[in-house]
């Protein structure tokens, strides 16, 4: 009993420690801008206000960035999941030469330091004319999201018994029908988990977003946050930035809370089975 109480205390400390920045963010986003520069800093706002949120949504800098974020993350996720689904199926089911090499290469790409790629990509994208476009961000996102998606999904596919598919073939299905009518529905939880993980990756990225964009055309929210300014030169932009940050954090938090079980399943199955 005694040990279990200590575990609870330790757990609470850790939760408090990791939640503190979030709470602070929330508190800042509710403060009137005058609080920040008042010279009497305090944790809670003097008056609770939602004005920061309305202000943020009235700025095209933010709304445009939000559209970019949603669009780019969704498109990248969709492509990554579809491509990874076929790749993972092939890896789980077929025996072909160089399978191991391919898998290790994919893992190698996932491990590649992103910062090292930003410079060359900047130059290449300008040369190719896709600098500061959606496509210019979707491509690197795909590159880094695919390996992880393939690994996670092939672990899911491996869990589906072979007989399922063979039964479908004996029942008269073509390979494609067996895949579509039996394998895909069964792998749906895996596909879904992979989709969520990929979406997070694209949604949260800052490095590529800040380096490969220059205008509203493709700038996503994490990058756009840096460009917020106060209502006047004498006002701090911090409450607006925090309000925007809260807005982009909410979808992530909701998704995680709603699907935490599946996300954990996806992470562990990817980790253990590989």
């Amino acid at each position: 009993m005694k040990t279990s109480r200590w575990w609870t205390v330790a757990g609470l400390v850790i939760v408090a420690y990791s939640l503190f920045p979030l709470v602070w963010m929330l508190s800042l986003s509710m403060k009137p801008p005058s609080d920040i520069v008042s010279g009497e800093p305090q944790f809670l706002p003097t008056t609770w206000t939602f004005d920061n949120f309305t202000e943020v949504f009235s700025q095209s800098l933010f709304t445009r960035a939000l559209i970019n974020s949603i669009g780019i993350a969704l498109i990248a996720t969709l492509f990554a999941v579809v491509v990874a689904m076929f790749a993972a199926y092939a890896i789980a089911r077929l025996d072909f030469r160089g399978k191991r090499l391919l898998l290790s290469l994919a893992l190698g790409i996932a491990m590649f330091p992103q910062a090292a790629l930003v410079g060359p990509l900047f130059n290449m994208w300008r040369g190719l004319g896709i600098y500061d476009t959606w496509l210019g961000l979707i491509i690197p996102y795909l590159t880094f999201a695919l390996p992880l998606s393939i690994w996670t999904m092939s672990a899911f596919f491996r869990q589906i018994p072979w007989e399922m598919e063979q039964a479908a073939q004996v029942d008269g299905a073509t390979a494609w029908q067996a895949f579509r009518k039996v394998i895909v529905p069964l792998a749906a939880p895996g596909v879904f988990t992979t989709a969520i993980l990929t979406f997070f990756f694209c949604w949260n990225d800052f490095l590529f977003a800040i380096s490969l964009t220059s205008t509203d055309a493709a700038r996503t929210v994490p990058a756009a946050l840096a460009f917020f300014q106060g209502a006047s030169q004498f006002e701090s932009p911090v409450p607006y930035i925090m309000a925007a940050a809260v807005v982009v954090t909410i979808p992530v938090v909701i998704l995680v809370l709603a699907f935490q079980r599946r996300i954990v399943a996806g992470l562990t199955s990817g980790a253990v089975k590989g």
Partner: protein, 390 residues
Amino acid sequence: MAEITMKNIVKKYGDGFPAVNDVSLDVADGEFMILVGPSGCGKSTLLRMIVGLEDITSGDMVIGGTRVNDKAPRDRNLSMVFQNYALYPHLSVFENIAFPLRLRGGLPEEEIRKRVQEAAETLELTEHLDRKPANLSGGQRQRVAMGRAIVRQADAFLFDEPLSNLDAKLRGQMRMEILRLQRRLGITTVYVTHDQTEAMTLGDRVAVLRRGILQQVASPRELYEQPVNLFVAGFIGSPPMNMVPASVEGDELKMPFTSVPMRDEWPAAIGDRTVLIAGIRPGSFEEASMVDSDKVDQGVTFDVSVDVTEWLGNEQYAFVPYDAPEDITATLAELQTELDSEQTRTQMIVAVDPMSRVKDSATLWLDSSRIHLFDPESGENLTRVESSDS
């Protein structure tokens, strides 16, 4: 409706190991054929080659007069019940059974509904049609798998150890169900099992495989009474046939516990061999006191010591230990390993009358006409009589 003909079928895996080696087998139209053997004998591989899930290395697979070696499973029009049933967990029982019909396309919804209903009625699944496989019991899942097999008019049914996941009681019931269904539909059936009770009760004919090689194809009765070699003799029958070292001494066949006068037909069969293995079914013994007096002369009577007895209500077995020479014991031990059994001591199993109170010792009578003599080297049954009943 179709007959299945296998000609010199060989299956070699990547490492060159022949899992199925030169098997030729004819399954007649409407026949119930059993493939049986210990694990790893190639019986499942053979079945999967019939259905098209394994490639055939060489040989011809002919179904209904067409060579199907290069045909995909879906073009062979066979239906199969898998060992783990392979039901589609995301579909209801109805949709599981309707699956093969929907794939076919072109069938009106009404027709599909009618056929699924028929299949469900046959298998008493009507009230479960809306449930998911996960909510069914083992026996019900098994029936759904069979429903999926019978719903379309397939040329043949293939079963891959369909009852091995069920408990003993249910297994007995489902065995009868399968038999009844097959008799009623009259469809060619190939059934893989390692359970010899299933093999004996279900099959019109039984094919015994060992290490990918076909040993004997015969009716269950012939397999039991006239096994072609030591392997088949040891595999078929429960409790198994007793394998006893025997030697020819003059005009007597000497066994550890008794000697039997040589029968007239034996010298020709044995040739100049002096060391043999005698195979005696537990039921070939009787307690001497129970034998009719006019039968006694056909066999020999002798005393043995009894180790333990097993009383099962309707039958009783006595275990009789004996000493055996080393070299033959080694051959027998090897055979035992192959048959997946572990007999640690040399002993005989003798069926005695269930009413008998045998203890410690018994006087037994053995009908010498029911002794099989095997060559210890090749395992061949030297006294086999070709029967005409198959």
